[in-house]
């Protein structure tokens, strides 16, 4: 009778959970993220899959957690001593088997992940590793999501206020400033610092793409930080704006400035312009920063099929709905599943959370400061909120900036102007990611 009970106890996850209370912390984290996604509606399309991924990844024996790969491509799997006999060196990518040191402890099986076939990954390491190594680790999903983002983006406001797009560059300052701070802290390697700093790009797919290339072991915390801070844009932007901008600056009315200093640009065929623009941007970025093409190229492709209209409406529909939605599910779940106890509960995670916040704040500040410099030099004044939205986080940043402007002057609608720097911020952060990858990858 006792042995039956012992077998049942051994079959459930309870014994492992009791042995390692870290699991409880992960469940609490998953519940908090689920609460934020469901009840508070913080980026629910991503936070909920991520949170559920965290939850299912942390049940011992479930095999749904992503096994981290080390620098040499070795994945280590803890296996009960009695099951070690099922593995053989040389078969299914097994390179080493380590017997348990004591009775009751688990043995270790080491796999060379790059020499495993996909069916072997699915069979030996489970479904979630299969999804992760096939779709995420290969860098496949983020550009696919970028294609969907492109299909949902309108470059019209940017083309109408083209000069304002330069403020999307100023708002990439946070990325490089935090790279410097993280490197100086001595807690991170250069690649890790770069992955952490890209949170300042305020762009989920960009952050994930860069982290996969540079520091895949930090993927979970970085994705969570990036999406959490994006959800907190309505709190962070007003905070930084309050610190850096005067009431007089925030009252600058862009329409009045346009009347005082008209640009004189007229648009005789916006549709043709919107079709030509993504093609031309792709060519420019491809020539200058080839490593950013996978992101910017797919972004512009998605936008192109949207702008062409009826002739490509079917693939536009696929890119912006079915493909994007499926990609979002796989991305969210498997990114969540990378957050196992070993990968998440360490000092680096705290560094990522703090560093990510600074990257965000400094990016907003960078955009604002660039506007202030512009206002010192030129007669035509720009509302500093347009610099703040260079952060990307489209379109939430623009909506938040518009609300702030309306608070100071109920006639001052800056949404369209903000969208210009906001959309260019997406291109800017993808370019910054490309630079980091090409220098450090």
């Amino acid at each position: 009778m006792n042995s039956i009970l012992e077998n049942i106890y051994g079959m459930t996850a309870i014994s492992d959970i009791v042995a390692n209370p870290g699991f409880i912390v992960m469940y609490l984290l998953a519940f908090v993220l689920l609460y934020l996604g469901i009840k508070k509606e913080y980026e629910p399309l991503l936070l909920i899959p991520i949170a559920f991924g965290v939850l299912i990844a942390n049940f011992p024996g479930g095999g749904m957690g992503v096994n981290a790969v080390d620098g040499e491509g070795i994945v280590t799997l803890a296996v009960a001593a009695k099951d070690l006999a099922n593995f053989e060196i040389g078969h299914c990518g097994v390179v080493d088997i380590i017997q348990p040191a004591t009775d009751g402890a688990k043995g270790l099986v080491k796999f060379d992940i790059w020499n495993m076939t996909l069916p072997a990954i699915a069979h030996e390491l489970g479904l979630m590793n299969f999804i992760y190594y096939m779709l995420i680790k290969t860098g496949f999903i983020p550009p696919i999501i970028f294609m969907g983002v492109g299909a949902l983006t309108d470059f019209g406001p940017m083309l109408r206020n083209l000069k304002l797009a330069i403020f999307g560059a100023g708002a990439q300052f946070g990325i490089f400033a935090v790279l410097l701070i993280a490197a100086a802290s001595g807690q991170f390697t250069m690649k890790e610092a770069a992955s952490l700093s890209i949170i300042g790009g305020a762009d989920g797919p960009t952050a994930i793409f860069t982290t996969i290339k540079l520091a895949p072991h930090m993927l979970g915390p970085i994705a969570i930080a990036a999406y959490s801070y994006m959800a907190l844009v309505p709190v962070i932007i007003p905070l930084v704006v309050k610190l850096l901008c005067s009431e007089k600056e925030l009252k600058i009315n862009m329409k009045e400035q346009d009347k005082l200093y008209p640009s004189g640009t007229e648009f005789k065929n916006m549709r043709a312009l919107k079709i030509l623009f993504p093609i031309a941007v792709t060519v420019i970025v491809a020539i200058l920063v080839p490593s950013a093409v996978s992101l910017v190229g797919m972004l512009m492709f998605g936008n192109l099929i949207k702008e062409i209209g009826a002739n490509t409406s079917r693939i536009f529909d696929a890119a912006s709905n079915s493909i994007m939605n499926a990609a979002t599910i796989f991305l969210g779940l498997s990114v969540g599943a990378t957050m196992t106890v070993e990968a998440f509960l360490n000092l680096q995670t705290i560094g990522i959370v703090v560093g990510g916040f600074f990257a965000f704040g400094l990016s907003i500040a960078g955009g604002i400061c660039l506007v202030k410099i512009y206002n010192l030099i030129f007669k035509k004044k720009i509302n500093p909120l347009i610099g703040a939205t260079g952060l990307s986080a489209v379109p939430m940043a623009s909506r938040v900036a518009n609300d702030i402007a309306l608070k100071y002057d109920s006639r001052n609608h800056v949404l369209n102007y903000c969208m210009s720097s906001n959309v260019s911020g997406v291109i800017g952060s993808a370019v910054a990611a490309g630079i980091l990858i090409s220098f450090l990858g």
């Binding site: 949902l152 309108d154 019209g156 406001p157 940017m158 083309l159 109408r160 083209l162 000069k163 797009a165 330069i166 999307g168 560059a169 990439q172 300052f173 990325i175 490089f176 400033a177 790279l179 410097l180 993280a182 490197a183 100086a184 001595g186 250069m190 610092a193 770069a194 640009t265 007229e266 648009f267 005789k268 065929n269 916006m270 549709r271 043709a272 312009l273 030509l276 623009f277 031309a280 941007v281 420019i284 970025v285 200058l288 920063v289 209209g309 912006s320 709905n321 379109p395 609608h413 949404l415 369209n416 969208m419 260019s424 291109i427 800017g428 370019v431 910054a432 630079i435 980091l436 220098f439």
Partner: protein
């Protein structure tokens, strides 16, 4: 080691910011060139479809129109389409 890390980060910061400015600067210059090109060589609107909506939306300022478009796209997850905007 730390010194070289900081040096490397500083270089990356310089190169990165200059490149981002250069790329977006070029995008702006290219955008302006495209506007001139389109205005000169393909000035007319080819799509006849929007004409039906044109009289109604003529009185709506373009920024108000795009704000409404953004709101509709957001609420309907990009499925909704505006056919007509009228002031009541």
């Amino acid at each position: 080691m730390e010194g070289t890390l900081i040096e490397q980060a500083f270089t990356l910061m310089l190169v990165g910011m200059i490149t981002v400015f250069a790329v977006l600067g070029l995008v702006i210059a290219m955008g302006n060139a495209l506007i001139r090109f389109v205005n000169k060589y393909v000035p007319e609107e080819e799509a006849p479809a929007p004409k039906a909506a044109a009289p109604a939306s003529a009185a709506i300022a373009p920024d108000v129109k795009s704000a409404i478009e953004l709101a509709v796209a957001k609420i309907t997850s990009n499925k909704g389409r505006i056919e007509k905007i009228e002031k009541i």
